[in-house]
Amino acid sequence: MDDELLRRAYADGVLRSGRSRSTCVDPSQLVALVEGAAAEDERIATLRHVGSCAHCRREFDLIRTAADAATGHAGSQWRGRALLVAASLVFIAFGFVLWQVFSEPGGNALRDGPRSDVQLLAPRGDVPANVPVTLVWSAVLGAVRYEVEILQPDGTTVLAETTGDTVLAVPDLIGLSPAGEYLWWVTVVLRDGSRARSTVAPLTISAVPEATDRQP
């Protein structure tokens, strides 16, 4: 059976149904879906409805357009997470590795791990505290998303963000300290579900000396 004709018949029927909204999902469920905050069974149930209701489909597309436009991305649902929600699992997994790194002179445990194609490109050198921090890395063929982390030297996660882009502007509300030393890395998730890590790079925020003659 012709797939395109099947799609048209389905879309045509759904669009013309004019059904009641009484069985529609709550808009908050659509937001949870867009933000990746819903559990799997809830995602499935909500999407089952989105796939059968033209009204909810349009609303879902509107909400995800708003989210994608605000973050500058066009594809990933895993956006807008609270800073430490995703970090908890990552911290458990990598806390052990980091403990080994910083308990050994030279800290080369990560260099012994598998290599990745993700190259950390910027920033290079110190970043003045009065300049927005923008992290840049190389794109990887077949990447579905990138998971970016900034950590304090003791392993505490400061930021854990997921993006489909290869640039991340660190939000101001993170509050990186002037004269602060951090580490950052990127994990790429590929289409087949496999993951690869970049090396760890230092991120140093340098204090800005007080100006004696301020501009308005």
């Binding site: 059976m1 012709d2 797939d3 004709l5 099947l6 799609r7 048209r8 018949a9 389905y10 879309a11 045509d12 029927g13 669009l15 013309r16 149904s17 004019g18 059904r19 909204r21 808009p27 908050s28 937001v31 879906l33 799997e40 995602r43 499935i44 999407l47 089952r48 989105v50 796939g51 059968s52 033209a54 009204h55 349009r58 597309d61 509107l62 909400i63 995800r64 357009t65 708003a66 989210a67 994608d68 436009a69 605000a70 973050t71 500058g72 066009a74 594809g75 990933s76 649902q77 895993w78 956006r79 807008g80 579905v144 502007a169 939000p171 101001d172 509300l173 289409r191 087949d192 579900g193």
Partner: protein, 178 residues
């Protein structure tokens, strides 16, 4: 620069990229210009009302714009739901067939397709519904948090089962032609 001009310029600086992306991304998803313009305007108003000062507006970050955008979209959805239900504008979708008899046959056909999709095993039914609604495999994988190979397999098997069920009901490709 006059204070009001500075505020306006700061707002347009913040909104410039957002508005452009709303237009390009929204149109690619089939959303109408009226919805997209309303969304952009709502976000612009929210930022201006909440901050109202060019220094604060210039310093606004991505997460603030994100929260404003989600809140604006949510309010638009709730307002639309409070209005009487009407069929969506189908001007852009040419009907497969026209005439009252053809309309009745099409409605019956859609009911049969809907029933057949509902008879598919889970979660193939969800993947098939999203595919028939026009989403790509990559989008479906992203929504569900699954890999594309998994979605591809579910879709392949789901569509195969669907075709078999429809043929059992006597629905053949010719049923769709005028």
């Amino acid at each position: 620069m006059h204070r009001a001009d500075a505020t306006s310029a700061a707002l347009e600086h913040v909104m410039g990229r957002f508005a452009g992306m709303v237009r390009s991304v929204g149109r690619s998803r089939g959303l109408g210009d009226s919805d997209l313009n309303e969304l952009t305007q709502e976000v612009r108003l929210r930022i201006w009302r909440a901050l109202a000062d060019h220094e604060k507006i210039v310093a606004v970050n991505t997460s603030y714009v994100y929260r404003a955008a989600i809140s604006a979209a949510l309010d638009m959805v709730r307002r639309a739901r409070a209005r009487p239900v009407t069929s969506l504008d189908t001007n852009d979708v040419p009907p497969l067939r026209e005439g009252p008899e053809a309309e009745f046959e099409l409605e019956e056909l859609v009911r049969q397709i809907d029933r057949a999709v509902s008879d598919l095993s889970e979660p193939r039914d969800v993947v098939v519904r999203l595919h028939l609604s026009g989403y790509s495999r990559a989008e479906i994988a992203d929504f569900l948090g699954w890999s594309e190979p998994k979605v591809r397999n579910l879709l392949y098997r789901g569509l195969s089962d669907l075709r078999r069920l429809l043929i059992q009901e006597g629905i053949h490709p010719q049923s769709y032609h005028g």
